[in-house]
Point group: C2
Chain length 355, copies 2
């Protein structure tokens, strides 16, 4: 696998990618020299294109058609040829204002999803921040039945989560009140990761009548905080974009894309997987772990909260994607979420933006 293309081949590949992404049609040598000012004749371009095809960067849908980039071609383009075109300061500010205006985390993420899909015209994927890094603000215990108690966790990000307890033996209102008090006394302000152990700790020293309850709470906290409940974790938006004309030919492909998008676990894993190679990450066509998505690409970036990686945003689109712009938008949304999140959590400190 060649590592570097000479300058002219690179310019031709770049032009092919850009032209094809814009127009959606295979691009030929004549069109290239006329539209992209390459300064050589079409015959020369043809020779270069033949070499590029030989090397696997471009392909012909059929003889006597122009060339289209292969996954490898897009990959080279993204890695070596694409010019970063960050959003203008004005655009970034508008974006940030929109997100900062959200009343809570959920609305923030929902807006992020909407704006991401609108700006890119692809499907938006927004993963909620893991509760892990937030601090516990309050734990509320509410008795709903003789043996059933609802545990509600409230984090300092405004996130609220809950678990139902089904106890072996009935408890009294009084027991519940004692447990509530004990738990909050001990756990408020803790990192969520520490909370289960702390609660378990106070359970061991507690009087026997509240001990089972506290143990159950500890368990619920452990399970409840480790992973957000399904359906809360990832927000998918703008899926209608995937049915836009020019992206996919066969209905069959569109259907399998929608099937994949419905599997939240898969989408989540795909994003995680993508970010293993870097941040922001671009995964093109066959680089994705799913054959159904061989005609798709993913662009993803993570956003931080309280100094460490918290959640992920990304888009799923066709391999024929405007990578530079998509990267810019995804990164801008990620950093705006980061800033808006800082506003919501309350600490108004400035944080480093990444680019």
């Amino acid at each position: 696998m060649e590592t570097k293309l000479d300058e002219r081949k690179a310019a031709i590949l770049k032009a092919i990618v850009q032209d094809y992404v814009r127009e959606g049609e295979p691009v030929g040598s004549k069109r290239l020299v006329e539209g992209w000012g390459l300064g050589v004749s079409s015959a020369t371009v043809r020779a270069e294109m033949a070499a590029l095809e030989e090397a696997g960067y471009i392909a012909q849908p059929h003889t006597s058609a122009g060339r289209i980039p292969t996954d490898k071609g897009y990959r080279y383009f993204v890695d070596a040829l694409a010019e970063r075109t960050p959003l203008s300061e004005h655009q970034r500010q508008t974006l940030l204002d929109l997100l900062r205006d959200s009343s809570d985390l959920e609305e923030l993420l929902r807006r992020a999803s909407t704006v991401l899909s609108r700006l890119t015209r692809y499907a938006a994927l927004v993963v909620a921040p893991a509760l892990d890094r937030s601090r516990l603000r309050h734990i509320e215990l509410v008795q709903l039945g003789p043996t059933s108690v609802l545990v509600v966790f409230i984090a300092d990000t405004g996130r609220v989560d809950k678990r139902m307890l089904d106890l072996d033996a009935p408890v009294t209102e009084h027991d519940v009140a004692r447990a509530r008090h004990a738990v909050n006394e001990a756990a408020a302000g803790l990192r969520t990761s520490q909370t289960p152990d702390v609660v378990a700790g106070i359970a061991t020293g507690a009087p026997p009548e509240v001990r089972p309850l506290l143990e159950a709470v500890a368990d619920a906290v452990r399970r409840g905080l480790s992973s957000p409940p399904p359906g809360e974790q990832i927000i998918v938006g703008g899926t209608a974009n995937m049915a836009a004309p020019g992206y996919f030919e066969r209905l069959e492909q569109v259907k399998s894309v929608y099937e994949t998008l419905e599997e939240q676990v898969i989408v989540l894993q795909m994003l995680q997987d993508a970010l293993q190679v870097g941040d922001p990450a671009v995964r093109i066509g066959h680089e994705l772990p799913l054959v159904e998505l061989a005609a798709c690409s993913v662009v993803a970036a993570s956003y931080d909260a309280a100094g460490s990686s918290a959640g992920t945003v990304g888009v799923l689109g066709p391999t024929r994607m405007d990578y530079p712009r998509t990267l810019a938008v995804v990164q801008a949304v990620a950093s705006s979420i980061e800033q808006a999140l800082a506003g919501i959590t309350g600490s108004s400190g400035a944080e480093p933006t990444r680019n």
Copy 2:
């Protein structure tokens, strides 16, 4: 508009609808007499078909093609010709077991959505039960910032909801504690519909330092309880089914269907709208309020909780829909939700929520 078809026309219309729904191709007179044992010749059938077309029940895509039902034809079929074929006892039981096994409300609804889309092969729409009928169990106020307070409502069904308050003036921890106490003193056990007024009532008599806070809480309660927040209210599943071959020809149609499904407000209104005419309800093609969905139908049914209508389930599919089966499945899912819900709200079950 003729009110009733004679017996033979009805039999022919019925056969046309059933055949077309099964095969997806326009059905001609020959096929009709051969496949449906009408006991007359094709010429006779042709004469009747001409009359049916004249009356608007069927149409020809083009000359020399068979006939397909019009919206009016489907409507007559649903109203007068379709044989109800309820699910078998075994199927109902399996369904009920599946739903009853859910750990909380959200999982219940999610499973309902999945099973509904699997069984019907259309897109499933599940509307969460309105909080309205439940009783308030606890209101928690959590201060997240100087002017931001999170209000968490906990209902006796285990449902948890929250709103963020953005106050004009900063409040102290102490004020928040006082307000929390006052609110819970007054509001616990109330029907959610009464709660806002009660809270507003105690606000008027409260000391000036907590009064703005209480008013804000009253307002949050009013807004928060009247309608669940977006994204929690309706669960859409099985959307990939809408891209199945044989339903829609043009990608354009598929796209507009997906666009509509993303607008939760619209979907909600559509379901409400449909149920105005009856329960279960069927809306066919142009009967739907949206022109984009002229090629779609909706089948919906409501489910009760605590004796009155609580939520809605339904499917969105092509007008070429298996109405009898869909009706049976939708009704079975609705009644299974009802029963599973009774188990959850009842004695020991758990129920869930959002966060």
